[in-house]
Amino acid sequence: MEILAPLFLQAGYNTALVTIGAALLGASAGAIGSFVLLRKRALVSDAISHATLPGLALAFIAMVWLTGEGRSLPGLMLGSALTAGLGLLAVDWLTRRTRLAEDAAIGAVLSVFFGFGVVLMTVIQTLNTGEQAGLAGYLLGSTAGMLRSEAELIAVAAGVTGAAIFALRRPFTLVCFDPEYAGGRGYPTGRVDLALMGLLLAVTVIGLKVAGLVLIVALTITPPVTARLWTDRPGQMVVIAALLGAAAAWIGTAISASGEGLPTGALIVLVAFALFVISLLLSPKRGLLAGLIRQRRFQTLVHERQGLLAILRNEPIYDSLTLRRLKARGWLRADGQVTPEGLSAARRAEADAARWQLYRQSHPAEAELLSGRMMEPMARVLPPDLLAELDSRLALAAAKRGEAL
């Protein structure tokens, strides 16, 4: 297999360097993207990435004027960072100063900046420098023929960005989770947000050459969304997203290096999406399969419980699913007669229902948290001491009612 060599870094120094650089970039993008996702601003990266185009073009034009050679990666990165920063400010300004919502501001900025970038690109075509083709790679990403110095720059910059994200993980987590509390604790929320967006911008600019400006967005969104399927905890989410991002970038770059007509950016994005689909199906927490099973189980249990309570009160049961379930559990005979097991199951259900009722009264907050497990036998939900307390209080209440009669 041709793919194995690049996958295990055996396809030459340059390819190995590019692969490692891409993986570092993927990790940084996944990590910073997680915070941005938690801040509910995922598509800001879309505005940032499209807003790099005029900067790229301007930097190219400026460098051609000054040196006659426009393709230096650091220069292009600087230029694109400049207009991307302006785009970010424009989004911020539109949402703050006008009634427009952030989604409209993002869309306006990305289309206008990109449109202006296209105007500049046509200007470049008229310059006749013969090297404008070098800029096309930034639209869709291309690692083919990347210089060693470029690959080193990407790897180092991605590594530094990753380290910065790691250093700032605590303030980021706090501000994403509860900005007001973070403000109260003395964190400068505004500046933390600025750092967050600045690092997102850095990742975008670094990733332009590898993934291209349309597809770099995916690296900051898809791995975090995937990570969210596996965990509810922000700390874990960032780590998982970084790993997923690194894996997608690594595998995507390796596949891309293994043959012709395999664009790097597109493959990285498709690998990231494949990881998402697998997670969506299989994750035990929020996965589809698990959810489907839980939903069916819950519905069945609801019908069983309702049927049992109806049995206890000698009420007729009309619902066909309820009847089927009761018969399947052996609680009802085929002719509709209640079996002894059915009667004892009904008593248990009634007792559990009474316990739940009392528990919700006496411990409303905890009961709310546990309400997802309402259909399970109470003994599996609560510790024995609490259960005994509930039972003794129920017995007391029953005795009181007996006296009153």
């Binding site: 609801v302 009309y318 009722q357 209440a397």
Partner: protein, 269 residues
Amino acid sequence: MTATAELVVDAGRRIAQDHPESPLAIAGLTVRYGDKPVLFGVDYATPPGAMLAIIGPNGAGKSTLIKAALGIVPKVTGEVTLFGRPQAQERHRIAYVPQRAGVDWDFPATVLDVVLMGLYREMGLWRFTGARHRKTALDCLERVGMRNFADRQIGQLSGGQQQRVFLARALAQDAELYVMDEPFAGVDAATERAIITVLKELNARGKTIICVHHDLATVAEYFTHVLIVNMHKIAEGPVAEAFTEANLQAAYGGRLSGAQVTRLAGASS
């Protein structure tokens, strides 16, 4: 009420058919959001001509109950009938007033535009607004004291004024059943008086009113019936019978102090 009778879940799935005269009857209504059940096996038949408060602690499923009953949110199981018939067929006899906070008040529309939405069903295929529709809408605004605001942009209204506009829209629907989600939440005292006056007047003309209500102190004064829910139905009936210390304790548990409960329930009898 015994401790367990409140847990009655399946009092016969045919409660709805058994109450053909009830403006809104539900049976075995179960709803959940994600993994959390919000409502569980609620049976209820609204008495015709009632002025009903649905009460219960925060997160008890009060709003969900009416939204599920009107087909706005999906239900897991359960049946709903309006005037003894399936919900979709009798929609025109109902005026629903959603929570004020649920809409974008920055929407580019005037007060009159919003009230005209209530006349949606009366407009023909081309749905042009005629002079007749305008007059109806202005009359409804008059009834809530907002006629002079007809051309105001809705974003310029205070919370109480927004609620009055929503009520005017419901009046324009000329319904038989008014279902309102927290109509008194966050409104000023004058608006609260104005709203309750209009509602009582509608009720006196035989209309049924259902309000999700959060202020226990005014239940006895405003309403004839209560439905107390906390995921399950806790109690139902005329205010004098169902709005009792025991039922409130059962619904609110630790959320209200014993003294509060006693005072509130005492006020009703």
